[in-house]
């Protein structure tokens, strides 16, 4: 019998705004989202979707000048406006992040060992030797051979795939409950990407760590996520189980994005399906639905902002069009 899963993170009406050239831009706008125990929640979006700003806000790492509104609760505790010391205690210890670019996330002057153990020594008050032995253990967990010797290496002595695994090991040092994954496979070659995805799946099976996987790549996410949230222009436009979302996307943007992925497993098309236009500029968002200028189902009503409606089957969709996935797909084919 499956136990009900507790909610680890609850975002309510989350907003991240900042000023540029005297105007207020809403990078994240009214996002409601939950991350439950043991689950992998995918957050998909293109440039300007707000997915990275959302991730940084969760850690209290938004750029100076950014204004947070709404609420982020971690096990019931409000993080928006929490004192820096409290955020610091949660960061790394309870919620850890794996960044996209392992070379810039690692300090080139320090050994892997120093960087791996730094946080754990501070957060868990581990001694030097205890921390080093935990670091070596974790390097083995992320399938790096000769882990003890690797602790003495500098980042440039490792391949890209190894550096990415070191970052994953680093995030795991304090046994966090939540891993935030910021495009963890984007900078990697396809074979290494498959290895890192496999590793993340294994870790989750073994330790049950929950994760928020932020990416632009619906392909890489497919084998990882239990649920997927799709963002566009700072807002959540669709939320569904991965099975439902990949099989029958309801929002025209999700459907368009899935169709645009060139695939090896389908017959070669005469032209690649694509979405016309370009991702939105936050400074020039249209009134109403941000996707309207690119949407094959655009209608007069789309000048009003659509609400995110929760459907009877638990999915959620922010679109005035209430037809089926088949009808959305047909609109793209006609377009």
């Amino acid at each position: 019998m499956a136990e009900p899963r507790e909610t680890l993170l609850r975002l309510h009406a989350l907003g991240v705004a900042y000023r540029r050239d005297g105007r207020e831009l809403h990078a994240v706008d009214g996002v409601d989202l939950e991350l439950r125990e043991r689950e992998c929640l995918g957050v998909v979006g293109e440039s300007g979707s707000g997915k990275s700003q959302l991730l940084l806000a969760l850690l209290g790492l938004s750029a100076p000048g950014a204004r947070l509104s709404g609420s982020i609760r971690y096990r019931g505790e409000e993080l928006v406006g929490a004192p820096a010391a409290r955020l610091e205690a949660i960061r790394g210890r309870r919620i850890a992040i794996v960044f996209q670019d392992p070379l810039s996330a690692l300090n080139p002057y320090l050994t892997i060992g120093t960087q791996l153990t730094e946080g754990a020594r501070r957060q868990l008050r581990l001694g030097r030797r205890a921390a080093a032995s935990r670091a070596a253990e974790l390097l083995a967990t992320v399938q790096i051979d000769a882990p003890t010797e690797r602790l003495r290496c500098h980042p440039h002595e490792l391949s890209g795939g190894m550096r990415q695994r070191v970052l994953i090991a680093m995030a795991l040092m304090c046994e966090p409950e939540i891993l935030l994954l910021d495009e963890p496979t984007t900078a990697l070659d396809v074979t290494v990407q498959a290895q890192v995805l496999q590793l993340l799946r294994d870790l989750r099976e073994r330790s049950g760590v929950a994760s928020l996987f932020v990416t632009h790549d619906l392909g890489a996410l497919a084998s990882m996520a239990d649920r997927v949230a799709v963002m566009y222009g700072g807002r959540l436009v669709e939320l569904a189980s991965a099975a439902a979302l990949y099989a029958a996307p309801l929002h025209p943007y999700t459907a368009g994005l899935l169709r645009s992925l060139p695939r090896l497993d389908l017959p070669l098309p005469a032209r690649l399906p694509s979405i016309p236009g370009q991702p939105p500029d936050l400074a020039e968002l249209p009134a109403g639905c941000a996707f309207a200028p690119r949407c094959p189902l655009v209608h007069e009503r789309c000048t009003r902002q659509p609400d995110l409606r929760v459907l009877p089957d638990g999915r959620a969709n922010a679109c005035h069009f209430t037809g089926s996935a088949t009808q959305v797909d047909a609109a793209w084919i006609r377009a």
Binding site: E46, E157, A220, L264
Partner: protein, 322 residues
Amino acid sequence: MSDSPSLLEVRELRVRYRGGRTAAAAAADAVRGVSFDIAAGESVGLVGESGSGKSSIARALLRLVPATGSVQFEQRELLSLRGAALRGVRERMQVVFQDPLGALDPRMTVLELIAEPLLEYRRAARAQHEQQVLAMLARVGLGPELLARFPHQLSGGQTQRVGLARALMLGPRLLICDEPVAALDVSIRSQIANLLHDMRAELGLALLFIAHDLPTVRFLCDRVMVLFRGRIVEQAPRERLFGAPQHPYTRALLAANPVPDPAQRPVAPAPAADHAATAPAEAGGGCAYRHRCPMAVARCAAEAPAIRPLGASLVSCHRAGE
């Protein structure tokens, strides 16, 4: 590979970078004896992981890095050309880079950027430039309202279209594309791939399309070459390469490609692979792929496999076809 006369003939191309941090790195060639042809109007894909030498091949063809071997373009040896003769060839062979913003001068407007090749080669009176630029802009799907803009005022897709317009301005016969869609948003990538597809058909362009994105290569290329550690390990016509890959590395690449379907998982090669990736390339014999290869036998360590025909493919593997 083709009956029509070759536009480009590359033989035993080698690129060696000096100044590696270690002796092993300094001695390792980025490109280790690569030979291939591209026929007029043909589109050829070059795939491989980072460090495989794909971009070094592009730079060698463009004479941006020193190389040895032979590169014949329209029956002229490129590697010994200098000065005006080299400039003449550059009109006929153009390039589109991965990072479109980094490739464009930030102080020039779109009009100046696209007109620059004409000025450089004194093809037209200044008065005619704007008209030609406008025609090219329309061709790459951009409106005249962009003419006065600077690169930082363009979106990623628009910037790459400007890069393509610049490259096409002099009517090249060969366009080298170095990861031209990798930095773009997913919804924009297919727009640019479609545009390249159309331009190629419309202008009879030959393409050397360098990418690690296999589905886009499958869409754009007639023939595909797979590069591993500076050597071509397999080349074959599109249907053959994607339908019946012969080299174990090609198979690993295809199996690792993610599919947007939660029921299917990309197949990860054994992680021991990574250790070998950091080991210096050996000077001695043996197949460079053997450390990762699930099929490796004693012979693979003793003797480097020569490239050989196998059906419609050329493959360099002792065990292929067994």
